[in-house]
Amino acid sequence: MFDSVWLLFAFPALGALLILFVGQRLSQKVVGWLAAAAVAGSFLVALTLWLGLLGLPAAERSVTVTWWDWMRIGSFHVPAAVLIDPLSVIMAMVVTGVGALIHIYSIGYMDHEPRYQRFFFYLNFFILAMLTLVMSNNFVGMFVGWEGVGLASFLLIGFWFDKKDDLYGWYADCGKKAFIVNRVGDFGMILAMILLWSTVGTLIFSELGEAVHSLAPATASAICLLLLLGATGKSAQIPLYVWLPDAMAGPTPVSALIHAATMVTAGIYMIIRTNLLWHVGAAAGDVAAWIGVLTALLAATIALVQTDLKKILAYSTVSQLGFMLAAAGMAVYGAALFHLVTHAFFKALLFLAAGSVMHATHGVLDLKRLGGLKDKMPATYRTFVVGAAALAGVPLLSGFFSKDAILVAALDKNIGLYLVGAVTALLTAVYSFRAVFVTFHGKPRDKHLYEHVHESPRVMTAPLWILAFFSLAAGLINLPFILTLDSWLKPVIGEHEHPALVVELLGILLSVVIAVLGILIARARYLTKEGWVERLVQPLAVLQPLVEHRWYVDELYSLLVVSPIQGISGWFARFFDPKVIDGAVNSVGGVISDAGEAVRKLQNGAIPTYAFSLLLGVVVVLFYFLFVG
């Protein structure tokens, strides 16, 4: 059964190749369904792998399938192999499951797109790379997927490479930014791999177990901090989150699949996968946890004031990824993966619902022009509300349980982390329902736009309903106290102690209060427009310009990093290289040519002179070696 794991990769690979080579001759519908079928096929394979693992005793749920020996030089050795274990099958199922739904949705969403062949080729290529990332049994193989998804992301963000608007500038620049910022993270990944191999002697995950115990905590922390740099790139955390909001330039299904549900969670996955290292390098875990909550807070404040629906969702993704990173940093890996899974459902849902709005408004997602859409788009509205409620943490929905698991852990371990997390959770509830109320309730702000709005076709709403179902119900996979997911993951993450009952209950209670309070604030502010909220937030108004400019982080990076590098490059290219280095070369050349002019006079054409100098030379050389050398 596990030997058929190659099929997991073969389906999207074949899909991509078929679309690349014959897609031109097929219609948009055929190409779309072909791509979707490839991913669905992969999903079925992932299911059988899961069932296969279920059939094994817990201790044996780690199966390595080796395909070939990839790189070998001396003691350095990396295979091309996959690891099938509780963590990788969950990731594979999420990637292919959500991926298949989004492929299907895209058939409807991209129906007027002339470059559909490219689009579906990129999507299938992305799935292939993402599966490589989560299934590989070693760091270097994971890195192939890691950069592969980065390439797919670059291609899809800049899918409309000749398009430009006020919100994003040139779309192509957004893609380029994403790739380069991620390369900064990859710099950390490369160094982490090198340091790990140099100290532990292996890059294969399953061989880390015994080896890491010989590792000094400081070295382990250094490795983990380098990995964390990689994670902040891929999972859009401080300091490298700046690419993700711009990544929304890509088609909305891409935002849902790559920039919400799957690729951006790779950093979290990587930390869970390498938890043994983080166990030794615990100091790095603290850094990760703080980066996580602070990113969550920062992004939530920005999400609160964005006026573009997709940008709200983008900052919300950054914020939720911050929660996951915080969980991973606190070593509550079960909670981290739990939130990763539920978030994949409800955030994909929110993006796809936003895409459905976009499809109806021909691309307009500006909150200042929307409003009152709920009657015209009932399916989109209802599913969006489910997604927003899950995001806000409405009790009993999936997002409630998964976020609560993280907050309870913080409450148990570090009250500072908890407070930042709780404030963020409140802001989350506010901005999610702001999005609901402003988009779907109230009066239409743009009459003309409103007239043309229509509900999306079935091929788009069906995935919405399926995702809505999972957003509602996915909490079941890891209910408090029962913890199905935690025990399923035990072979990978081991056992960790649970907080005291009273802490757990207090945490749940507070989470309920926070969610309800947040929604009520949003309702009062954006739906019923009550004066008291206005007065309440009045003191915060001084911050508004700062937040609206996203705390000027992009400008700061441009000033401190990009401009200096470009400046020094320009100076090198325009002055230092041609004038200093090449100037020196040419002046040496000049001196030699002057000297040559002088020496030329010695060449008088008289053979005896030549013979004499030759003899002289031989004598000098012989003398040197006989008496000196």
Binding site: I73, F187, S198, R574, D577
Partner: protein, 510 residues
């Protein structure tokens, strides 16, 4: 039983020379072209016998041929190939048909002389990689200058004479010192035999001077920062095929020289000056990338990227451990393929638009999608995307460099960020954005035709083969590299023991 040919290495080396002679003799231009292509193609096929008849796991020289050339000085005609040179030979024979075919399509002026020079160049390059005698090596090394000088000077761009003279004088000045070093080595060791020299301990003073002289010659050739300024001039002015061969093969003669001669024959001096070379290599990685970032001409961008890439190769060579050196050998091949392909892509565009200024382009993805897609794959290979060839070389080099000096590894890894930056900047200006110049329209700009694809696709295929199955190459490279490293460290140990017998004894006792 595979086919075997007597004097295989001689056949491979001199087949192009024979072709060059024939090309000058046959009458029509068409025949000259096809004859040149057939010669390079035939040479490539014959060279494949090296692969099929390879003694797997053998570390020493294979297919060795030996004859006395000039007895009084012990100069020999000696050829041989091992894991270090094998893929450079194959790289040369593989790239030549592509370069020749490109020239068939786009070079019209005095095609006979042009093709003869190309073939002459091939013989001299192959000779460099196959020579087992220092004098023979030197003869081939110098001989390669002449055809390239004429190729740039006669068939180059606007400023071709300046570039050609600079190329010639600069590299010639470098190798002039090598002659002196050659004699010093001979008088000290009494042989020109490269294999024997690698096992011969030389006095430290001889090592130092010879190493510095060899290093200067090879540093100019590589080119190592700050000896690189001839390269952008030469590349920008050279005809496309010249650039492909210059970047693809000729520069490797420098790094190969370090690896085959300078590092193993003068191990103690190499040890001493290693940090200096390593520093220059790392500076080259960052400096080349930074300068590439702001280039306006696509060809000089690729030229500066070569400075950065060769910096990685040098870093691997300097680190003198298995990962670094094997990685460097593979990376020489990778650079030859990737940068050769980049120059090919630039050339294909130049022949259509007669400009290489990035500002003249934009939006090509809409008008020539096949070209653009392939350009992106080539750029990604050059940027070291894992799964493709460049990553394997760069990563193993950095592994080796870390053992040598962690700081070097960190700085080299930073070069990876810059590589993505300048390549994507070029791609952004070239292929993305709207079409602003009507000359880039679908109507005016033709996508690649079958003949052009036939040049690009084999390169792209090899990117994937090397990226996914590098052990096909490492299996042949590693034994020779490990043997070389072992011989070298034995030599160093021996020298240390002689200089400090007391220390050596205590080590032995332990």
């Amino acid at each position: 039983m595979a086919l075997s040919i007597p004097y295989l290495l001689t056949v491979i080396t001199f087949l192009p020379l024979v072709g060059a002679v024939l090309v000058t003799l046959v009458p029509s231009d068409g025949t000259k072209k096809w004859l040149a292509l057939a010669t390079t193609g035939g040479t490539f096929l014959v060279s494949l016998l090296l692969w099929t008849n390879w003694q797997q796991g053998e570390a020493g020289m294979q297919f060795v041929e030996e004859a006395v050339w000039f007895a009084p000085l012990g100069v020999r005609y000696a050829l041989g190939v091992d894991g270090i040179s094998l893929f450079l030979v194959l790289l040369t024979t593989f790239l030549m048909p592509i370069a020749v075919y490109f020239s068939m399509l786009y070079v019209h002026k005095r095609i006979g002389a042009y093709m003869a020079l190309m073939l002459l160049l091939e013989t001299s390059m192959l000779g460099v990689f196959l020579s087992l005698d220092l004098v023979l090596f030197f003869v081939f090394f110098e001989a390669s200058l002449i055809p390239m000088y004429f190729l740039i000077g006669e068939w180059g761009g606007q400023n071709r004479v300046y570039a050609a003279v600079k190329f010639f004088l600069y590299t010639f000045a470098g190798s002039a010192l090598m002659v002196v070093a050659l004699l010093i080595v001979y008088f000290s060791a009494g042989t020109f035999d490269i294999v024997a020299l690698q096992k011969t301990p030389l006095p430290l003073a001889v090592q130092t001077w010879a190493f510095l002289a060899f290093s200067l010659a090879f540093a100019v050739k590589t080119p190592l920062f700050p000896f690189h300024t001839w390269l952008p001039d030469a590349h920008v002015q050279a005809p496309t095929a010249g650039s492909i061969i210059l970047a693809g093969v000729l520069l490797k003669m420098g790094t190969y020289g370090f690896l085959r001669l300078a590092m193993p024959i003068f191990p103690q001096a190499a040890e001493q000056y290693g940090p200096l070379l390593g520093t220059l290599a790392v500076v080259g990685i960052l400096y080349g990338a930074l300068v590439a970032l702001v280039q306006k001409d696509l060809k000089s961008l690729v030229a500066y990227s070569s400075v950065a890439h060769l910096g990685y190769v040098m870093l691997g060579v300097v680190s003198m451990n298995a990962q670094g050196v094997s990685g460097a050998v593979l990376q020489m091949v990778n650079h030859g393929l990737s940068t050769g392909a980049l120059f090919l892509m630039v050339g294909l565009l130049y022949e259509r638009r007669h400009t290489r200024l990035l500002s003249e382009f934009g939006g090509l993805w809409a008008s020539v999608p096949v070209y653009t897609g392939l350009f992106l794959v080539v750029a990604m290979s050059s940027a070291g995307l894992p799964g493709l060839n460049g990553f394997v070389g760069e990563f193993t080099i950095m592994l080796g460099a870390y053992s040598y000096s962690p700081v070097f590894a960190v700085l080299a890894a930073a070069g990876v960020i810059l590589a993505a930056w300048y390549l994507l900047t070029a791609f952004r200006k070239l292929a993305q954005g709207p079409i602003t110049n009507p000359a880039n329209d679908k109507a005016n700009l033709k996508d690649l035709n079958a003949g052009e694809l036939a040049m690009v696709l084999p390169l792209v295929l090899l990117f994937f083969v090397i990226g996914l199955f590098p052990n096909l190459f490492f299996d042949k490279i590693n034994p020779s590299v490990e043997a070389m490293l072992a011989t070298r460290s034995a030599l160093i140990q021996q020298a240390t023991a002689e200089q400090m017998p007391a220390l050596a004894e205590t080590v032995e006792e332990q």
